[in-house]
Amino acid sequence: MSPSNPMNRRKDRIDSLAASTGGATGTALLEAGSVDEKPGVSLIASAWQRLRRNPVFLIGLGITLVFVVLAVVSPFIAPHDPAAGLLIGQVRPQSNPVPGPQPGFPLGTDDVGRDLLSRLLVGSQQTLIVGVVATVFGLTGGLVLGILAGAFGGWVDALVMRVVDVLLSIPSLLLAFSIAAIAARPSQLTVIIAVAAVQVPIFARLLRGSMLSQRSSDHVLAARALGVNQRAIVFRHMVPNSLGPVIVQSTLVLATSIIDAAALSFLGLGNPDDRQPEWGQMLGRAQQYIYDYPHLAIYPAVCIIVVALGFTLMGESLREALDPKSRR
């Protein structure tokens, strides 16, 4: 594979990311020990030591923790049932399509009289599910392909990577639109699959690059010389050492999948069943009232932006912390 043929730039970048974080673990460990003069400091321990003092990471972590806690407890603290059209009696399609704030309903309701505050609170749950499940799907697909290619090499590698290359040559969100549009009946699951599919080739490339750089590294050669079988080498030595860049990418994907899911809803390819609120869906659906009642869009949008920012801050500082080149 030549490092810079057309449209390979993107994969080169992914590969260099893989090499910068994962493959160098072995030497990084030694370096960390000698520089800190505290022998035996593991990559994760030393990364944590630096992250602990990094305000950017702490802000990201804080936002994420609040989000996760909210997702768990929101059904218990929400003032009303998010699916119940409590103020439907006030909705007048012509004069008053969206009832405004009033006692008991501090943010007003949506266009079918459901309490907006409750929907925002409980919406964190489905939003978290979309982000996490999409990331898990994308990661699993990428892991399978990446491990196949990285562990076997040869024609398996060539075949898998050609497919991955072609997938990478389609602009990512366009791929998600296309996959979501296939679904005869859109649902939460089709949204998640569409958003996750985009991530599969990225994860595959990342993992494969990292594993490839380890195949001739000392710890793998040592294991092979000791007669460790291939499966154990792949799963006990190569995969764990490749996880650094994968963890970074996963954190960033949590953010993009929530944003992408919102984009699908905006294009009418989202989940049509809105009894269980989800921020992207709320934002996508608010477009019909956006000029007269912009708050319907602004609240879920701000929630998405804050949460996406939290994941991004965490991912970027993780990337910095796990990158041996940035160690001092």
Binding site: P6, M7, L173, S178, I182, Y291
Partner: protein, 335 residues
């Protein structure tokens, strides 16, 4: 250099070829299909069979694909069945694609022109308040959904305050069409008011679309300049007594821009997809709308042309990036 370009071109043709096969097979595996989309579910089997035959959809998929390839070689990509029934799919592409390209190019120009100087300044004054606030802005830029930003801009600057037009690509001035790039058309035909109107319509959508590429290019520029500033050759150049201007231009910027050029190429794919969202907000007559309708009505011919064109554009732009890369950095050619 010529050999380098030829090799890249051949690889590019290979990718587009494989992609055309994948898109073709995948579209035909969609549930529903053209015939159901046109006739509905209640049509009699006879009418369905007749229409299927008329479109050539009754033949085996591989025969359909070979026929498609044969005609595509002559520039015939089939007839639209859903977007503009009866018209040539390639003509639809020609009328829609320039709009999307115009929007994407404008956004990219804005992103590059703003991001590179800011990234450079940020790196020179690393950890200053200016630098920190720019980094925060760039991080927020990635977190904001493109279409939401587009709505906010449109609401504030077009609906509430009439600074810019609300939607569309141009006022109705009876402009002559040459290339369907409206700004370019106005310049070619010397109808400068047409160009001005098109530019005015471009501002809001292209600013909205520019945020993500801006954020990414800014951060790469900043990181890259920071790295180069710490290199030995920069210190050497400074200690040789070269003027600050020469050091900045020849040593810092030229080396720092290599990864930036790559990143710009990578952003084009995201631009094309983001354009689909922005187009919807501003009712822009580009491929976004056409794609949505084509999916809904299972218009294979139009879908094939548009998806292949989008992917092809992405591949071509990355080829151009590689060539410019080879010009800037001679080491790439020999690899």
């Amino acid at each position: 250099m010529a050999r380098f370009i030829i090799r890249r071109l051949l690889q590019m043709v290979g990718v587009v070829f494989v992609l055309s096969l994948l898109v073709f097979l995948w579209l035909r595996s969609l549930p529903g299909g053209t015939v159901s989309a046109i006739l509905g579910e209640r049509a009699t089997p006879e009418t369905r069979a007749a229409l299927s035959k008329a479109f050539g959809l009754d033949q085996p998929v591989w025969v359909q694909y070979l026929k498609f390839l044969g005609r595509a070689a002559h520039g015939d990509f089939g007839v639209s069945t859903g977007v503009l029934p009866g018209s040539d799919a390639f003509q639809i592409f020609l009328s829609r694609f320039p709009a999307t390209i115009e929007l994407s190019v404008a956004a990219l120009v804005i992103a590059v022109v703003v991001a590179i100087p800011l990234g450079y300044v940020s790196a020179r004054r690393a950890n200053s308040p200016l630098d920190s606030s720019l980094v925060v802005v760039s991080l927020i830029g990635v977190a904001v959904p493109v279409f939401f930003l587009a709505f906010i801009l449109k609401y504030q600057l077009a609906v509430e305050h009439h600074v810019f037009p609300v939607s569309g690509r141009q006022d109705n001035l009876g402009c002559t069409r040459v290339t369907n790039f409206f700004v370019l058309d106005g310049l070619l035909t010397r109808e400068f008011d047409c160009s001005a109107s098109a530019l005015k319509h471009l501002v809001l959508p292209s600013v909205a679309l520019a945020t993500i590429p801006f954020a990414v290019i800014y951060r790469i520029t900043r990181a890259s300049v920071l790295e180069v500033l710490g290199e030995d050759y920069v210190r050497t150049a400074e200690s040789k007594g070269l003027t600050a201007r020469v050091v900045r231009g020849r040593h810092v910027l030229r080396n720092a821009l290599l990864p930036v050029v790559t990143t710009i190429g990578l952003q084009t794919g995201g631009l094309l997809a983001g354009a689909v969202l922005t187009e919807k907000v501003f009712n822009w007559g580009g491929i976004g709308n056409a794609l949505a309708v084509a999916f809904e009505r299972r218009d294979y011919a139009v879908l094939q042309v548009l998806i292949l064109a989008a992917a092809g554009t992405y591949v071509v732009i990355n080829l151009l990036v590689d060539i410019s890369y080879a010009i800037i950095d001679p080491r790439v050619r020999t690899r």
